[in-house]
């Protein structure tokens, strides 16, 4: 399904708000599955994205394991002497953390799967000043360029006979210092060139703007937005009326 960027932005806002407000694992699980459903509805390749973010997912799982071993309280599941290593509360905390991060990643996928230019247009329609929206679009546009340049510089270091993996920590830090200097000055030089290029093309010369692509909300967009708002309201009313569903 193709949705207007404003509808996508609303879905992201609702999902992330609920991820913060959800009171326990049960509520978080509902939001997690709702976020999964939205991703599926938008035909986002979740498995492919999970593969790309595997290092980050491992990090989340590692933090969750540490959390489950260090948070005390509830019933002890694993003890050595008088020290409890695994408790029901620890597992609950870890599960909440994993679900919350999962929801945020799924919301991030909705944003990442959108065309950067369309998102800018959506922000403009929502009343964001053009300069700010344009800056966001430019920032997104240059991310891959900076990533490629950084990889090229790491390669250039290897070409100078420097194997970063084999260096001691102080020397590694020094190499990173050498990598940051040209990266920062490269950004400054690029932004100056960009500013000159934009001025040469008359950026900001006319107050009135016209758009190449005009965004228009379809009935599908309205339907999705209304259902999303109603479901969110029902969820919040239920949560604040009945309180916790799952107490550890």
């Amino acid at each position: 399904m193709r949705l207007d960027p404003r509808a996508r932005l609303l879905l992201i806002l609702l999902i992330t708000t609920l991820a913060v407000l959800a009171k326990d694992i049960a509520y978080l699980a509902i939001v997690f599955f709702a976020a999964l459903a939205v991703n599926a509805m938008l035909k986002i390749n979740i498995i492919g994205a999970a593969k790309r973010m595997r290092h980050f997912i491992w990090l989340i799982l590692f933090i969750a394991i540490v959390q489950s071993l260090t948070v005390k309280g509830g019933t002890a599941l694993l003890s050595v002497g008088k020290i409890n290593f695994l408790t029901t509360k620890g597992i609950g905390f870890a599960a909440e953390f994993v679900l919350r991060m999962g929801i945020i990643l799924l919301a991030g996928l909705i944003a990442a799967s959108s065309d950067g230019r369309e998102m800018t247009d959506g922000l403009l329609k929502l009343g964001m000043p053009y300069e700010l929206a344009f800056m966001s679009a430019i920032a997104l546009r240059f991310l891959p360029v900076f990533r490629d340049e950084f990889v090229a510089r790491i390669n250039a270091m290897a070409m100078r006979g420097i194997d970063i993996k084999r260096l001691s920590l102080p020397k590694k830090l020094k190499v990173y210092g050498y990598l940051i200097l040209p990266a920062v000055s490269g950004c400054v030089i690029k932004s100056e060139e960009l500013a000159r290029s934009m001025s040469a093309r008359g950026f900001g010369a006319e107050k009135k703007r016209t758009m190449l692509r005009a965004l228009k909300l379809t009935w599908t967009d309205w339907l999705v937005m209304i259902i999303a708002v109603l479901l969110t309201a029902a969820y919040l009313v239920f949560m604040y009326t009945y309180g916790n569903l799952f107490v550890l």
């Binding site: 510089r153 390669n155 290897a158 050498y178 490269g186």
Partner: protein, 216 residues
Amino acid sequence: MKIELNNLTFSYKKRSAPVLEGVGAVFEQGKRYALTGRNGSGKTTLANLILGLLKPQNGNILINGEDAAKMSAALRAKKIGYLFQNPDLQLFAPTVMEELAFPFELTGTLTEEKQDELQRMLTIFHLNGMEERFPLTMSGGEKQRLALATVMSRHAEFLILDEPTSAIDRECRSFLTNFINGFAGGALVITHDEELIASLDSPHLLKLEGGRVHEA
């Protein structure tokens, strides 16, 4: 110094068409090679494979008869020098002198003899008096000479130069061609610049087309 490419095949994505397919070539000491080909034909990819920055899906590379797959890029860099198309990407330090010296500092090999040698390199590469300059604010030609000096400071036996004349003036171009012609090791020049090819001493002309290297 001898580099042998045997049946190299490479593609950037598993299911996409290979950029290079069954490439075979031999590069030897004391010889100059000029590699041409259309944009996107895989010239820089081939250089990256030789340097160990990319790994071939098929085939192998032998450097002096040894399988290069066992050598890291940093190890290969002791024998093969690479001049990037954009010298900005291979300059890091806040001053010219530090640019030359920092790899030796990091590897604990910055002896007094080495420092003297680096001073001499400043003269050879016409960088005298620029020791304290910030490399990234130098002219295209100065950056190119500094990048070449950093490559030569490691006594490379074979040079790969990727479009070396794309951003330099006539004076620097003349310096560069004289340098390549006078270099005792081997050199592979990747270029579209016919004037540069014409000014090289008896170069072996190679063309990359359809994923393969042909004698031009």
